[in-house]
Amino acid sequence: MKKRKERIDRGIKARSGDIFALSSWREMLYLSAPRLIPIIGFMVLPLVLGDYWQKVLLSVAVFALLAISWDILAQSGMISLGQALFFGTGAYAAGIFNYYWHWHPLISIAAATIAGGLLCTLFLLPVLRLRGIYFSMVTLIIPLMLVRIIEATKIFGGTEGLTGIEALSSKWIELYLAMAVLTAALFGFRRMIASDYGLILKAINDNDRSVINAGINIYWFKTQALFISACVGAFAGAFMTHVYMFAGMPVFALDYSILPIAAAVVGGPGTLAGATLGAFILVPLSEILRGIGGLRIVLYGLFLVVFIVALPEGIFQYVQRKYHQFERWVEVE
């Protein structure tokens, strides 16, 4: 007897989705819970965690931002293998602003976000006209080459890096700045992706000729997506520079490229929420697994392969489906 899986919207989804007069608290909760849980979580987590896990939370936020930045690009058909480029450029920019010119940390972070975004966009502009694969190749190469260049030419402190950079005035500012930006990025860009503008970006990835045929300059749109994504990544780097009070070669490390991709793939690409969820799973996991050292990266590599092949939709889509629909097996002839 053959069976197939049938998926049916839960009653509560049908009621609260199409009818705009909500009739019970339950329905209101059903609609708002997916939004409230992360927001409340972001607000409460810094308060309940101890010192050590607060630090972990900061890197969760940073990797979540990098993963969001990766996902925005992936939506527009650009697969970056070098988020470290965005991160590192932002980090060095902030380092330079503060080390050489003594800018206030908050101003330096803001300026580095924009400057890093612009610089990365300029770097990658020539590749935008080519197939996606070139984008992957170039983004993989550039950060690794930049490390060598800094090492060899000894600019910006060379192997020593820029040390003694001013920290933000308190850890609470650090924590809540990170959480605020993460919340804004998550919900803001989710809205952007769902808007008509986001639809055009997806359309460029899907069927660029039909977009060109609407008189839309696809390269200009891709450039915009690249700039937005690069700014998000550069912010993460600039922020970390002021947290660690240091900007040096490690900011171009492969970790900053791989972990965000792993987070987005494990969480589920295309939703941004998946990328954030992935970061919230993988970063603490790698803290717990600190003992096994290098084997972590092996695990990330395997995660990537397994999720891409076996569960390409990622955890978030899976959870979302379970939340909205129930499934049952029905017989077929």
Partner: protein
Amino acid sequence: MFLGTIVYALVNSVILALMAIGFNLTFGISGVANFAYGALYIFSAYASWMLMNLLHIPYLPAAVISILLTTLLGALMYRFVLLRIRGQVLSEVIATFGIGLAILELFRYLGFVGFEYTLPVFIDRSFFIAGTYVDMQRIIIVIAGVLIVVALWIFTHHTAVGLAFRGIAQDERTALSLGIDSDWIATLSVSFGAGLAALAATIIIPLGSISPGEGYDVLIKALAVCIIGGLGSTGGVIVASFIIGFAERFTDSYIGSHWTMIVSLAAILIVLIVKPSGLFGKQKELEERI
């Protein structure tokens, strides 16, 4: 010094071409960008080392076995991973990158780092050419490089499998309708690419030592050469290897060794700005897809 630099630049160029040619072959035929390429290169080197030092097999059989093992690994990678995500560029890139990462970092974790991890040179002699000493291994590299390119040309132009390769590369659908199994050819293309990586490793590694970091280096160099030469073009790979090879050696000799990476990066950026599809790239932006 000038002539000596030329000799070393020539060797350097051939090394680059050897490193890139497998990656390029796979991409040119099946459109798979194998980001596990550097890892396969290192895998074969470690395999040879283990066969020699743990199982005490002589060098030549050890090298042959490890090349075959790497070729097989490439085929398995296609059959069990890539076949399931065929045609989805995003997934292919991430999956091959993930595999490469897992292989390289596993070796690093297992502690395969150090100067003892090296392969012996084929013949330990050196010659005095053009005012510099050149060791036998470098001469072997140049000869092997030329032989491999010629062999590849004969293979793709005069054998059935090679012609099928070219058929798929030109038009997958037409090739399919002529009874060429594109999955099988793609499997072969990935495994041949892996085999070429292993062959390159066997010839080149004796000049230095084996390390996981070298795997990333090889991938970067292969990508750089392919970007400059144009993806999928064998002629482009050779020309680009010579451009980078000579540029690197000459900056090394006359400006300073730490400038070599800048020269490569500058070369990539200039080529991308002037001719985004690479010197010999067949990518014609929109026209290609109509």
